[in-house]
C-alpha cells in the first residue's frame, strides 16, 4: 500500500498563513460552541438526553436491517417510491434516471451532506442538468466552485467581503457591498426564480421513522420546504443510518440537534414528510456507500450514530484553526476523520492524525460517539496496514529499541543533552527540527533526574 502524504498538515499550514483570517475563523466557531454550551446548560437533563439518544441509536444499529425494511414497507404504503443504492455511483444514477423519466433538467437542492459525499452535483452537471443549491451558505460555495467547509455552516470560512465580491460577479449586486441584509435580499430574489422553475427538488433526510414510513428534514431557511412543495417531484436522499424506530424518539433528537449545532432551542423548520401531495411524486433513496462495512466493525460502528450536528467541528481546536477544506473530504472535522478512511483508507490516512486527541469532540457529541478513541484506533489500523509515512515507522521502531533497553536510553539521553549543550544552534535549527520553526527547545540540564537520584543515593550510603 502507498503511504499517506500529510495533506492535512500542508493545507493547514497554508490556511494558517493568513493569521488574521485564522483567528477570525477560530473565534467565530468558538462563538457557536459557546452558544451550544449555554443551550446545553439550560437543560438540567442534558446528559441524560445524550445517553438516551446514544442508546436509541445503538439499539437501532443493532437491528438496522429490520428497521430499514420496516421503513421501506411503510414508506411504500404511503405512496413513496423507495430505492436502494449500494454506493455513490448507484445513488447518482438513480437520481438521473428519475430526472430522465420526467424529462426534467432543473433541480433545486436543499442541504444534504450525503449528496456531497456521493459527488452528485458534478455528476448531474456533466449530464447537462442544472443543480442549484438553495441553502444560502451552500449556494455561496457553489458559486465559488468549492465544496462546503462545514456540515452545518458551509460557508463559515468566508467573510462578508468575499460574499459581496462573489454576488457582484454572479448576481449583479453593487461592487463592494457587504451589508448582510442587502446581500441576502439579492440571494433571495435569485433563488426564488430557481425555485419557481425547478422540475425536481432534492432534500436530505435528518431522521426517517421506521414506524410511520415518514421522514423529517431540518432547515433554518425553509428552503427545503419551498423546493419540495413547488416541484412536481421530490427526491429525498439518506444514508441508511438515518433511520430511527419510532416517532416518539424524534423529540430526543430534535432537542439535541439544534442545541448542539447552533445553540438554538429547535431548528426553525423541522418539516415532516409522510406522503406525496396529490399530483406530486416522492422518492426516497437509501444509500449504503460503506456504511454496512462500518456497521460490521465493532471499533467504528459507533460513528454511525452521528446526526451531523457539527458540534465536534466547532469545538475542535484543530478544525477551528485549519478550516474545513484542509480535511479534503465531504464531512470535515473529527467525525469526518473517522468516516473518511472507511471510504478510502489510502486517500484519507492522514486524517486520524490531524488531531491532538484532546477529547473535546467526544464530550460535545450529542449521541456520545467516542470520537477521539476511534481516531486513536484508526491510527493503529493504519499503522498495521502500512498506511502511515515510512519515516514515522522508522522513527517509532527506533524508539521501541531505545525504550526497551534502559542502558541505551541512558546513553542516548546523555549524548542528546551533551549535543544540545554543545550545539544549541543545531538543535534549534528549523530545517533539522520542525519544532524549532516557531518554538524554542528546552535548555538541556547538566544531569538527568536519574543521575541526580543515583548521586543522592550514593551520598546517603556512604
Amino acid at each position: 500500500m502507498d503511504t499517506a502524504s500529510p495533506k492535512h498538515a500542508k493545507a493547514a499550514e497554508a490556511f494558517l498563513r493568513d493569521e488574521e483570517n485564522t483567528d477570525w475563523h477560530n473565534e467565530t466557531l468558538w462563538f457557536v460552541r459557546s452558544k451550544r454550551d449555554r443551550a446545553a446548560q439550560s437543560l438540567p437533563e442534558w446528559e441524560q438526553l445524550r445517553e438516551q439518544a446514544s442508546q436509541i441509536k445503538a439499539h437501532t444499529l443493532s437491528k438496522l436491517d429490520d428497521y430499514l425494511i420496516q421503513l421501506e414497507e411503510n414508506a411504500r404504503q404511503n405512496g413513496i417510491i423507495v430505492h436502494w443504492a449500494a454506493n455513490g455511483d448507484e445513488h447518482n444514477q438513480i437520481v438521473l434516471d428519475i430526472m430522465r423519466k420526467h424529462k426534467a433538467t432543473k433541480i433545486v437542492k436543499s442541504k444534504s451532506m450525503l449528496t456531497e459525499e456521493c459527488h452528485l452535483n458534478p455528476f448531474l452537471i456533466k449530464e447537462g442538468i442544472e443543480v442549484i443549491d438553495t441553502d444560502l451558505g451552500e449556494r455561496i460555495v457553489q458559486l465559488r466552485n468549492e465544496p462546503p467547509s462545514h456540515i452545518v455552516l458551509p460557508a463559515i470560512h468566508l467573510k462578508k467581503k468575499h460574499i459581496g465580491d462573489l454576488f457582484h460577479i454572479h448576481l449583479g449586486t453593487e461592487a463592494g457591498a457587504t451589508d448582510p441584509q442587502y446581500l441576502t435580499e439579492a440571494a433571495r430574489i435569485h433563488l426564488r426564480q430557481k425555485f419557481l422553475l425547478a422540475d425536481v427538488a432534492i432534500t436530505g433526510v435528518n431522521f426517517a421513522i421506521a414506524e410511520t414510513g415518514g421522514f423529517v428534514v431540518c432547515t433554518n431557511e425553509g428552503n427545503a420546504d419551498l423546493g419540495a412543495h413547488l416541484a412536481k417531484v421530490h427526491i429525498a436522499c439518506m444514508g441508511i443510518e438515518k433511520v430511527i424506530p419510532q416517532a416518539e424518539h424524534l423529540g430526543v433528537f430534535l432537542r439535541l440537534l439544534a442545541r448542539s449545532a447552533t445553540g438554538q432551542a429547535v431548528t426553525t423548520y423541522s418539516s415532516h414528510f409522510r406522503k406525496p401531495a396529490p399530483g406530486q411524486e416522492m422518492h426516497l433513496v437509501l444509500v449504503d456507500n460503506g456504511r454496512t462495512r462500518q456497521l460490521a466493525s465493532p471499533d467504528f460502528r459507533n460513528s454511525l450514530k452521528c446526526i451531523r450536528c457539527g458540534a465536534c467541528m466547532n469545538t475542535c481546536p484543530v478544525y477551528r484553526r485549519s478550516g474545513g477544506h484542509s480535511y479534503h473530504t465531504a464531512v470535515a472535522g473529527p467525525i469526518g476523520s473517522i468516516l473518511a478512511p472507511n471510504i478510502d483508507m489510502k486517500e484519507y490516512a492522514d486524517l486520524p492524525f490531524a488531531s491532538t486527541l484532546c477529547g473535546s469532540c467526544t464530550n460535545v457529541c450529542p449521541v456520545k460517539i467516542d470520537i477521539h478513541q476511534q481516531l486513536y484506533k484508526w491510527r493503529q489500523v493504519l499503522g498495521e496496514a502500512g498506511a502511515v509515512e515510512s519515516t514515522k515507522k522508522v522513527g517509532m521502531t527506533g524508539m521501541d529499541v531505545l525504550f526497551s533497553h534502559p542502558w541505551l536510553y541512558r546513553f542516548a539521553g546523555r549524548a542528546g543533552r551533551w549535543f544540545m549543550q554543545k550545539f544549541p544552534s543545531l538543535a534549534n535549527k528549523p530545517s533539522l527540527n520542525p519544532w524549532a520553526i516557531h518554538r524554542d527547545m528546552p535548555k538541556p540540564p547538566e544531569q538527568s533526574f536519574r543521575d541526580w537520584y543515583a548521586q543522592q543515593n550514593q551520598k546517603k550510603n556512604g
Partner: protein, 246 residues
Amino acid sequence: MNVGLFIPCYVDQFYPNVGIATLRLLESLGVKVVFPMEQTCCGQPMANSGFQSLSAGCDKNFIRNFADCDVVVGPSGSCVLHLKEHLHSDEQPAEATRLRNNVYELCEFLTDVLKVEELPKARFPHRVGLHTSCHGQRGLKLSSMSELVAPKFSKPEHLLNLVDGLDLVPLSQPDECCGFGGTFCVFEEALSSKMGKDRVDDHLRHGAEVITGGDMSCLMQLEGVLRRQKSPVRVMHIAEILTSGN
C-alpha cells in the same frame, strides 16, 4: 504502601527538577518512595503514532521495573493515562492489569489517596495561570469539563489553593488544548505552534506571571512559545509550586 515513582523519559532528560520536586513533595507528605532505576518510557509516543504494536518492549520494561510497587505515581497526566488505558503484556497479563489499576497522576494521588487538605509550608506569592491538560482533564477526569453539564471541580486547583500567597488567574478558555499532542507537534508543526501561541495568549492577557500544570509536555510546548517570544513569563510544573517555600 510501596510507592513507585514514575518519571517519564522527557521529564527525566529535560526537566529533572520536576522529578526532584515530585519526590520531595511525596516525601514531605510522609510517603516512602522508590525510583526503579531501569525505567524508561510509557510507550505513548509509539502508540499515538499508530504503532501501539511496537510498544511491547516498553511495556515489558515498565512492568519489570514496577513489579514490586503497590502503586505507581507519576507527574504527567498523559503518560499516566496511556498506562491506564494501554499497558499490556501477553506474558504477565495479571501484573499488567494490576499496574493499570494502580497508577496515579500526581495531583490525583495527592487529593484522592493522600487526601491532602493543607500544605503548611507552601508559599508562592505570584499570579499563576493553570493550564488544564486534556489528557489529565478529560482522560483522567482531574477536573470538570466545560462541555459537560455537571458540577464544577478541579483537583489541581484544589491543591494550588492550599498554597499561601498564590493568586490563580481566570482564563477565557479554561480547557482549550495547547496543541502539543505528542508527535502532532512535529507532523502538524504550523497548527501545533499556533495552538500553543493562542494558549499562551490567554494566560498573558489575564496577567499570569507563571503558567503551571500537571503535564510537562504541555508546559514544554508553552515554554517553547514563551521563549521564542522572549517573554519573562515562566512555566513551572505544579509539583515545583507545591514544594516552593519548603
